[in-house]
Symmetry: C2
């Protein structure tokens, strides 16, 4: 046997961590458990029937092209559809040179870190933030600098003071990572005012903004806030988009938008990473969009998820104990709610009690890069049925009530 | 505009190079040019008609599963098929824990480098070698140590002396990269004797072997040589396989085999890279294999490519000038021939003359990490038609004859 394999691994590999969430998710797989832990879109939103004729058409009309290698940059027809899609969202003037088709957002995050991060380079991330981003950053040994989220998004004063500190200490951060719309995990949306402030800070300190927008099209209430990319007049923003939440995750498709110079560098990088995103899947997505089906699909998803979100909020109102130090977010879109418990409640520990009561959530601490978030958790409302949402929230409330009672008894 | 973007790029990004081949390939796109430059499988081998009912079946039977996120490890049904496929090739005892499904070989190469390579770590590569491997190594700032290829594969004496030198200098290399079967670009196969010697060296110096086998199933003459993985009794080998040349490239599917401990580390790494390989494509491949269609397909591909390979060898015999210092390989499989010209002929320069005569090849120097290979080139026989093979070889021979005449006139 090859002795002491560990010695062969790179420093980056040593910094990679197995996802805590993944290991916890395994515990939630029993049928009797109602899980709010996953981050999956609802299977009833997958356009299985619409896809049958489209896939047949792609094979019929473009078979040998769809099954061959494609360009690294991505399928032209798909890019044309993406340009239209982005224009409808207020991003005008995009050309094919501003777009790279990728294997969904997670690849985009990996590519961003590969392109910009040397070991120990500082990068800025709002806390709590999507675990996959933290994993990608770790896998390139980035120094993650966390900025706390407020109810209206990242704390901009804290952001600026941290950047100032970094500039003095070692140089500006490589980028500021934000999920401005219905952030994962907190469900919070960055206000227009703060988006403008963020851009000012980026211009002032010559920093790049990575705007991750997986849920942007899934708005259930309120007014759309312009994307940072659309507000940026100076080419400081790289935008990440995915089909996973508005079409389906099974094709692993997404796209990056940005200044042509940066996109070109991403292309060179992607050549060495996987040559190209699957042409077959790209063609399917392009045909689907060309027929106007994506817009329809998004409308339906918004209807389905709005009902589920409202159901979870109603269930929380109904079952949760009322206390000033027990709160949850009321997101206008996305797939998640964020619960904050009194400081003395440790949601990491309570996870196993919740499992005993046949309900699961994601521990909030998983979304931190420091020791924060022990009294928080994330609830997903997109996947479970309405019945499960009600019953699961009830079960969770029971667990919380029990914990509160125990604390009072001490 | 973001000023001086270059300053933001990582050191690895600075080391990434745009593929020379890609840029040259663009010049070969005119319809009048017969191109032996690409490395594409023949479109007539793509199973478009077989796939129509299979894709419909996958959507019908597994729609919501195939369109959802999948596990990072890969689809269980596909892994079962891969286990059977590998067993038929002499690799027995594989379990699902020894396999990771990936987005084809290029992703596997990227993952290998990410997992094992720190900047300036030595890695060993036969020269000439597949450009995509060199690109992946560069993108992690590896120190590539080239070992010349002989007619029966990598020079093992030179390999051992280089490893000895490295051990003394800074430590053993992270791995030895080999394409043992019908190597790209040279078409050479590593003999059984040398495979055993390679393993002895790997055991002695405790080095990992990366065995890249994209063409292994495409043997047209001679006897199959056991894979290094199947000969390895000590768990020193990681094997890379792809569906691109035996099924089709458009799904971007492949797999890695290796010791469970290493595969597990790859899984953690892949989580942060793209979460999972597309479940939809994995299901299609699994169904295709389960119906026994892959074996049939490979048999047909072997028939088609054997005829093309023989046609190219016959055309070279017919048209090329006869000289002792003008030779080409006679591969028993794969997709490429390798031509060696007299030392005074620079095939980099001649590329443009060839284009003028409406024929294209890949310059051999692209497959070197040093300044070697200027008098060599790679010819692809899998993609062009039989007529194009004859006519293109004739055109190339004219260009070579002209160059020889010019040299004699000097």
């Amino acid at each position: 046997m090859l002795s002491d394999i560990e010695r062969l691994y790179s420093i980056n590999a040593m910094n990679m961590k197995r996802s805590v969430i993944r290991d916890l998710l395994k515990l939630t797989a029993k049928p009797e458990i109602i899980s709010f832990a996953g981050g999956l879109p609802a299977p009833e939103t997958f356009p299985v029937d619409d896809l049958k004729p489209i896939v047949a058409e792609v094979l019929e009309k473009e078979g040998t092209k769809a099954l061959q290698y494609g360009t690294t940059e991505g399928d032209d027809m798909l890019k044309e559809q993406i340009i239209k899609f982005m224009a409808a969202d207020g991003v005008s003037g995009l050309t094919k040179e501003n777009i790279l088709v990728v294997s969904a957002s997670q690849q985009a995050l990996d590519m961003v870190c590969k392109l910009f991060v040397n070991p120990n380079d500082p990068v800025i991330i709002g806390l709590p933030s999507y675990v996959g981003t933290i994993s990608a950053m770790r896998s390139y040994s980035a120094r993650t600098v966390g900025i706390p989220l407020q109810d209206d998004g990242m704390d901009m004063d804290k952001l600026e003071s941290e950047i100032k500190r970094l500039v003095k200490e070692s140089g500006p951060p490589k980028f500021i990572y934000v999920i401005p719309d219905f952030q994962n995990p907190a469900g919070i949306t960055l206000t227009l005012e703060k988006r403008k402030r963020l851009l000012e800070i980026a211009y002032k300190y010559q920093v790049l903004i990575i705007e991750d927008s997986p849920y942007r099209s899934l708005r259930y209430n309120g007014e759309t806030v312009p994307s940072i990319y659309s507000l940026d007049t100076e080419g400081h923003t790289v935008g990440l988009y995915t089909f996973s939440k508005i079409f389906c995750p099974g094709f692993r498709l997404g796209w990056i938008i940005g200044p042509a110079e940066i996109i070109n560098k991403f292309v060179v990088s992607k050549q060495a990473m996987d040559l190209c995103t699957p042409p077959f899947s790209q063609k399917i997505a392009a045909y689907y969009m060309e027929k106007g089906l994506l817009e329809e699909r998004i409308k339906k998803n918004v209807e389905i998820y709005k009902v589920k979100k409202d159901a979870m909020l109603a269930a929380l109102d109904k079952y949760m104990p009322r206390r000033d130090d027990l709160t949850w977010t009321k997101p206008e879109g996305g797939m998640f709610l964020w619960l904050k418990m009194p400081e003395f409640i440790n949601m990491d520990d309570l996870f196993y009690k919740a499992l005993e009561n046949n309900v699961a959530y994601v521990i909030g601490s998983a979304f931190y890069v420091n020791d924060g978030g022990k009294n928080t958790c994330r609830l997903n409302f997109s996947y479970p049925s309405l019945e499960a949402i009600d019953e699961g929230t009830k079960r969770l409330s029971e667990v919380i009530k029990e914990a509160l009672k125990e604390h009072e008894g001490k």
